[in-house]
């Protein structure tokens, strides 16, 4: 019996087994969670967001979700710029003043789009970022005014 001849096959099987074990034990169905906090970013609730909106009606509100989601309903006055499409120029058009407050939101705590967009904005020099971390889910649950197209 030639053990060395069958060694590659054995190694392959062992690798498959280990990969399967890892994949079985890994929490594949767990949803991603947005970071609890981002340095230099002010996290607010829906009520606090309303206060800010009512206090500053011209405050840019960035909806980082997909277009289809935005169409179904969004916060009044929000502009749809998904995190993928958001560039420095695009954001510049909506929020020309980097020191003024700018509100980001996406679907909720399991959505990473707004946090990604915030990281980008921070890198581009925006310093007064407000983050509605609970996002659209929190807004809807509190039955706050929404706008559909």
């Amino acid at each position: 019996m030639n053990i060395f001849k069958s060694f590659p096959l054995f190694f392959l099987m062992l690798s498959v087994f280990l990969l399967l074990s890892v994949s079985i034990n890994s929490p594949a169905d767990e949803k991603p969670i947005a970071p609890e906090s981002i340095e230099g970013v002010n996290i607010v609730t829906a009520e606090e967001a309303i206060d800010l909106i009512l206090a500053d009606p011209g405050m840019p509100i960035i909806d980082s979700r997909k277009k289809t989601e935005y169409v179904k309903g969004h916060i009044e006055g929000a502009v749809n710029i998904s995190n993928i499409e958001m560039t420095s120029d695009v954001l510049q058009k909506v929020a020309p003043e980097k020191n003024n407050a700018i509100l980001f939101y996406c679907n909720g705590v399991h959505c990473l789009r707004s946090s990604d967009a915030i990281h980008k904005a921070l890198s581009w020099g925006y310093s007064n970022i407000v983050w509605l971390r609970g996002g659209w889910q929190e807004w809807k649950e509190k039955q706050l005014p929404v706008l559909a197209i």
Binding site: G77, Q143, A148
Partner: protein, 618 residues
């Protein structure tokens, strides 16, 4: 019936029967209870399912109403028309705009039944409503919603609110949203009739659901269903402020459940009953084996011992208590046995011949010395009377003394001329005591032969008789109960029977006994050609005496002559003799044999009739 009259066996059977009955009743009750519990659990479960389905249905209404409200609430036309209405009082434009969804429709038109759109200012005062839809709802917000909004601060008033509430006519669902969004001009109320959506509960629960108003009116129709297969489960849907709005009756298909429960019920009850029955049977066997049987055996042994079979011992097989009882009773019987033996030994060891006679002057007791003195065997002695033993008329002697000396009525010391078995006569000193023989007057006689140079032992005998009188009395009583136990007292059994017979019955029995014996002898002589002596010798029932070298059958002769026949003839001897002759003459069908057979039957009936009368409890 008194419980005390029951035997332990009957009581045990009754108790076990009661336990079995209780087991059956409990099994059936438990089966019914389990079935009911299963149904209750099923009903509770379905009730919760209906509750969840009802809340889901309301959620769908809420979502649709909220979406419609948000869309209309952000309509600039409606916002401006509302502002104009507030400012100018002109409602037409606003009403037309509010009627538009009823006419042109909206996105969730088919999902909800929109019955009214109403507009209120920020102070919740009525501004206008759609002319389309239901009428008569009123011009104010539902009190429940109005109360909640009033209690909210300014920021919270931006939040939409909804409620299921009772209008004057029926339950309605309202969603109140801000008119103008984050910069509100007033409130827009979207009023929905939830009846359209109530059947969705049936779709969610996947069971037929009947929906009733609280007035009892059925709102929907359900297909016909069997009462046995469907279990009705009721759920009441309440308004947001806690008033009953709808009665929802879900019909749970319990056909499979019922079948399963019946099967389980049958298996459970059968199993339980079988187990109970097996346990009961086992317990009954244990009871019977270790208690009832030993008890019955012990009772039988005790009865036999009480009848005189003192040689028996009580069976001690059984539970521990039986050992104690059996040992105690055996010890008691042993003491009685020893006492009896002692008494008999005392009398037998006495040098004097002691003989007791009953009222008919027949021997009822004799000791060994008496047998030696007169030369008779046991069997022979039992058939003797005073006449055969004494030449003197002892009874006359006693009678004479009784009539002359009233002080010595019970005791008499005299010389008595006695008659030996071989015929020679001899003289004895005799002490005669009148004693009680089973409640009848009898005589106890102590005899000592008179020899040369020896003085009569009057005083000694008197003392002996006094000493043994008590023993004799005790023995007689014992012998009456135990005729088979004491050889010397064998006559007592017959005496005990005879003692209570009437004189007429005695005479009839005597006559019948003599008749049977005569017929037996006649049959014997005629059919077999043999003599009376042959009958006595071959049957071994009757003693053969040798009188002066001549064999005689004195006892048998007595039973052939009515005048000298004993007053208490031995019926057993008579029967045995007749049967012996009938056996010997078995092949003969003569008239003599038939006559003997018939007479024997009659004699038996006579004797058994007398005995059964005696055995009857007084």
């Amino acid at each position: 019936m008194r419980i005390e009259s029951l035997s332990i066996k009957s009581a045990t059977k009754a108790i076990f029967s009661m336990i079995a009955l209780v087991a059956v009743v409990l099994s059936l009750s438990a089966g019914f209870y389990f079935r009911q519990s299963a149904l209750d659990a099923q009903m509770n479960s379905l009730s919760r399912v209906i509750e969840v389905a009802a809340q889901e249905m309301l959620k769908q209404i809420r979502t649709n109403a909220f979406e419609l409200g948000m869309k209309l609430g952000h309509s600039q036309k409606i916002v401006e028309a509302a502002r104009t209405t507030v400012e100018t009082g002109q409602k037409e434009t606003l009403i037309a705009l509010l009627d538009d969804p009823f006419i042109t429709g909206f996105a969730s038109f088919s999902d909800i039944n929109l019955v009214k759109l109403r507009v209120f200012n920020l102070d919740m005062e009525y501004i206008a409503e759609s002319s389309q839809g239901a009428q008569g709802i009123g011009e104010q917000l539902p009190p429940y919603l109005q109360s909640i909004i009033s209690n909210r601060d300014k920021k919270d008033r931006l939040k939409a609110i909804d409620a299921l509430w009772l209008s004057a006519e029926r339950p309605l669902f309202s969603a109140v949203v801000l008119l103008g969004g984050l910069r509100p001009e007033g409130y827009l109320e979207v009023v929905i009739d939830p009846v359209l959506n109530l059947p969705d509960i049936s779709k969610i629960t996947q069971t037929p659901v009947s929906i009733f108003s609280m007035a009892g009116e059925q709102i929907n129709t359900v297909p016909d269903h069997s009462e046995d297969e469907y279990l009705p489960v009721e759920y009441v849907l309440y308004t947001s402020d806690g008033l009953p709005a709808f009665r929802i009756v879900g019909l749970e298909d319990v056909a499979n459940l019922s079948m399963e429960m019946k099967r389980t019920q049958v298996i459970t009850i059968t199993g339980f009953l079988l187990l109970s029955l097996a346990t009961l049977l086992f317990a009954l066997w244990l009871f019977n084996r270790f208690m009832l049987s030993p008890l019955s055996s012990m009772a039988g042994n005790m009865i036999a011992m009480a009848r005189g079979e003192l040689g028996l011992s009580i069976n001690d097989k059984g539970l521990s208590e039986f050992h104690v009882l059996a040992d105690s009773f055996n010890a008691m019987a042993n003491q009685v046995r020893m006492r009896t033996n002692d008494l008999e030994r005392i009398l037998d060891l006495d040098e004097s011949a002691i003989i007791c006679f009953d009222q008919d002057q027949e021997v009822v007791f004799f000791n060994k010395a008496a047998k030696l003195l007169f030369g008779y065997s046991n069997d022979e002695f039992r058939d003797l009377g005073m006449i055969e033993l004494f030449v003197d008329d002892v009874s006359s002697l006693v009678s004479n003394v009784e009539s002359t000396d009233s002080n010595k009525v019970n005791k008499l010391h005299t010389l008595i001329l006695c008659k030996h078995m071989d015929g020679h006569e001899f003289q004895c000193t005799g002490d005669i005591n009148t004693i009680d023989v089973l409640e009848q007057s009898g005589q106890a006689i102590a005899l000592n032969p008179v020899t040369d140079g020896e003085q009569p032992q009057s005083a000694k005998n008197e003392q002996r008789l006094e000493a043994v009188e008590q023993s004799i009395s005790g023995l007689l009583k014992f012998a009456k109960e135990n005729p088979s136990l004491m050889l010397g007292l064998d006559n007592i059994a017959d005496l005990s029977v005879a003692g209570v017979e009437s004189a007429t019955e005695k005479a009839v029995i005597r006559e019948k006994a003599v008749s049977v014996m005569s017929l037996a002898l006649a049959c014997w002589e005629r059919e077999l050609g043999k003599s009376k002596l042959d009958l006595a010798e071959e049957s071994r029932i009757w003693p053969v005496y040798i009188d002066k070298s001549t064999p005689t059958t004195r006892t048998l002769d007595k039973y052939l002559n009515l005048e000298i026949c004993p007053k208490n003839p031995r019926s057993k001897r008579v029967v045995d003799t007749a049967e012996f002759v009938l056996r010997r003459a078995e092949n003969k069908n003569s008239r003599a044999r038939e006559a003997l057979r018939i007479e024997l039957v009659a004699f038996r009936q006579l004797v058994s009739g007398v005995k059964s009368q005696i055995l009857k409890p007084s």
